[in-house]
Symmetry: C2
């Protein structure tokens, strides 16, 4: 089985294009951005491949019957959007993916109270149905006379696609990749046993199961040790399952600094930069850029900043904190509550410490990518302190764009810490006091060390070009075939 | 090194005796009850051993200079209570043991918000100081001309005693035993690295590290894989550390059914039994007996009962739920809030479903051991659904005393499920719907199956006599010595 050079078929929940309507009611196309689209799109264009994704909106569903051609610079690829029954999709997307798997893998539950798994059976039915529809569509794409493709299945939304596809195509080349953490063995005990085993067995349908960082790969292997019938070799990272060897691999995703710089140079980002400069004046700029998301640890970030100001009063009026939070999943009560807490806490700190001529924290709660790019260029300190995070691309995008030898404070529980940790100030994200001390260290760092670290960060990002990530997944499959 | 037959020295936070004052102001002694005191006390009496514990109260401290003689039936043993600076003890007991290690090992934190580790450094200083004082006292007891004893160090309060004692006595025979769960590798990442490593290295000072159940032993081994310098053999359950082999063992603790039956026959328990019978009439009796504790899953238990009543309306007025909750750690805000939620939820269910002649739930919030013994005798269904639990002795005491072939509903995340699971109705404690179905299954179970299961439970308890648990720990040390 030769994998490199073969046609690639990608499956993911969200596709590289989506459809909406403009003011006049016409259907318009939006191209997705971000590392995943760039990385996978480039590889697809090189092989004339196909991307299968879920139709997420009414307009997406209206486009679901046709094949969409995407131009990706060096070549093109095709996109198919799969339509689903809305109730199935709801169970799959919010019921299982967002409310169970996301919370599970990021350890976000208040365990004495949640989860209670209300409506779990119905949601799981939807999850299975959607995953099965993906598997059918993937199989169709591999039928003769077509050459058999390599399948790259993305993320926790599609965790059981590999096994469902394997049933239909016993010899297919299948990789599954998780862009989020994976729960440890104790966390997995929260799931009802049939669902826990279905998820593990589902992923083990692949030839290669990939993760962003070693900790999550290890957790997956440890989880498989609890799966009856699986034999795990922790050292070699192989699971013997169903008569096959399944390899577990770590491939940290990267970003495209050149494309990012181009976006940051565009007019809107430049204007946002002027705006930030006018606000910050000659004060230092502490920045965070995140989805307003429970795993991002926004509350402890503000608490640490408040502690820093209290214990380093010489910094009052000499620094401000720009928190750019992109609203996320606000239809879920957990997210609304968390976002409200963050807004209240920032307000309380501003009320307590702020003065007429000084705003300690400016919290912006909207989707404003140009402003994020501008903030990346201008920060003196970038705070990236998630409780747990598969990778965290802010930690790569920020240093790639920054023009001030800014210091990165980075959670040791972000996947990115493996590549960047030694050039960053590594923090335990739970330790508010230690995070406050890191802010103090960052603002007081001498210019030589700032420069050395900033260079180190840029070099670490540059060492891992964006196309390596997909290539490595395909090469894994090739090695398996030998 | 011969261990069996040698003098045993036990170290634990709480000792087998404590001191208080009666109404006239005289110092009075209270003998502790429970499996640990019975099991360890018996072994100590057989070897003329010593129990070292913390002086927890003013009156305890007043007794700290003298050696207390305890009569334990077949022989006696001695008790020494160690006095501590109150600030150190506070950091050790509430700061680290109750608020960090208990929450950590039972997965009780609402991770997006807690812990924040406020005051951690001071608390850790207290923890180290108290553990070090224990280690010094233990060493004193092993000095010539005394025969060198075997040391049995108990629980998470004294996690670093083994290493501190090992420093002083490189060749001592030391066992550490945890009566609670142990956090998995992801949970351990919540702790600041120096504390995480100090805890693991602290326990690895022992020759043998013991746990109540395999899941917790495995978690400890997995945690050690992340400790620089440790080499873990998962299959043989050995950690190579500091030039020594440390063995990890599983020894489920038991109870003393005969002693329990004697207590249950006493007047106070009999009167409580009459009281329960008068209240329950000819309805079925669902019972839970727990500390009012976040890990015990009281809320989901009530939710499941409510769900059961809603979906099985023929059982309205035909069953009542007696929840005997022993107040615990009510000075901690997390415990007060949780207990209030439980009281409110029971009140809401009673308000919604109750009738003048029928109280769906009776919640008793007090330390009432005689009533618990009576409830054990009389339950038709016993609900033991902790989210995570080292062992859970209610699951053993209940079936040992029950006279009605009562059905045990048992969390698969309680250590007790290894011995009792197949005779119980095993539930995922997070799954409220599944717990509701188990209540329905239990009340509808035919008498033959009830009897078969009840016998199975009693036999499983009887198969593991109370003295085995200590003997196994001492024998482990003996094997290490060879």
């Amino acid at each position: 089985m030769k994998a490199v050079g073969r046609r690639i078929v990608v499956a993911s929940n969200r596709g590289p294009v989506s459809f909406g309507r403009d003011e006049s009611g016409r259907v318009v196309t939006t191209r997705g951005a971000g590392g995943l689209v760039t990385a996978l799109g480039g590889a697809l264009a090189a092989t004339g491949g196909l991307w299968i994704a879920a139709a997420m909106s009414e307009e997406d569903r209206s486009q679901a019957q046709r094949t969409i051609e995407v131009d990706a610079g060096a070549g093109g690829y095709q996109v198919r959007l799969l339509p689903f029954d809305p109730a199935d999709y709801e169970g799959y997307y919010d019921g299982i993916s967002n409310r169970v798997l996301w919370f599970l893998h990021h350890s976000l539950w208040d365990v004495p109270r949640a989860p209670t798994f209300e409506g779990l059976a119905e949601a799981w039915h939807g999850y299975r149905t959607v995953n099965d529809t993906f598997a059918r569509a993937l199989e169709e794409e591999g039928r003769p006379p077509r050459e058999e493709p390599v399948y790259l299945v993305q993320d926790y939304h599609l965790a059981i696609v590999p096994a469902l596809l394997r049933e239909r195509m016993p010899r297919a080349a299948i990789a599954h990749f998780s862009n989020i953490p994976f729960a440890g063995p104790t966390g997995l005990r929260i799931l009802p046993q049939p669902i826990r085993e279905a998820l593990l067995a589902g992923m083990l349908g692949a030839d290669v199961v990939g993760f962003q960082a070693l900790a999550w790969a290890e957790n997956f292997l440890l989880g498989c040790r609890g799966l009856p019938g699986a034999r795990v070799d922790l050292r070699r990272r192989v699971v013997r399952w169903d008569g096959r060897d399944v390899r577990v691999r770590v491939h940290p995703i990267s970003i495209d600094p050149a494309a990012l710089r181009e976006e940051a140079a565009a007019e809107e980002a430049a204007a946002a930069g002027q705006d930030i400069l006018a606000w910050i004046g000659d004060r230092r700029l502490l920045v965070r850029v995140d989805r307003a998301e429970l795993s991002k640890n926004i509350l402890r970030g503000f608490q640490a900043y408040e502690r820093f100001l209290e214990t380093n009063q010489e910094w009052l009026r000499r620094i401000s904190f720009l928190a750019l939070l992109n609203p996320s999943r606000q239809h879920l009560p957990e997210y609304r509550a968390y976002t409200e807490e963050a807004v209240e806490l920032a307000g309380r700190i501003n009320g307590r410490l702020g003065r007429e001529d000084w705003e300690p924290i400016r919290l912006s709660l909207k989707d404003d990518y140009p402003r994020a790019l501008a903030a990346y260029r201008l920060y003196d300190v970038l705070l990236v302190n998630p409780v747990f995070d598969g990778m965290n691309l802010v930690a790569k995008e920020g240093p790639a764009l920054n023009e001030r030898d800014g210091v990165l404070i980075l959670s040791e529980n972000a996947g990115a810490s493996a590549e960047l940790g030694r050039h960053a100030l590594a923090v335990n994200p739970f330790d508010v006091e230690a995070t406050a001390r890191s802010i103090a260290t960052a603002v007081q760092m001498d210019p030589v060390e700032r420069r050395r670290r900033a260079r180190g960060l840029r070099a670490a990002v540059a060492r891992n070009p964006i196309d390596v990530w997909v290539r490595a997944q395909v090469e894994d499959l090739e090695r398996m075939g030998r």
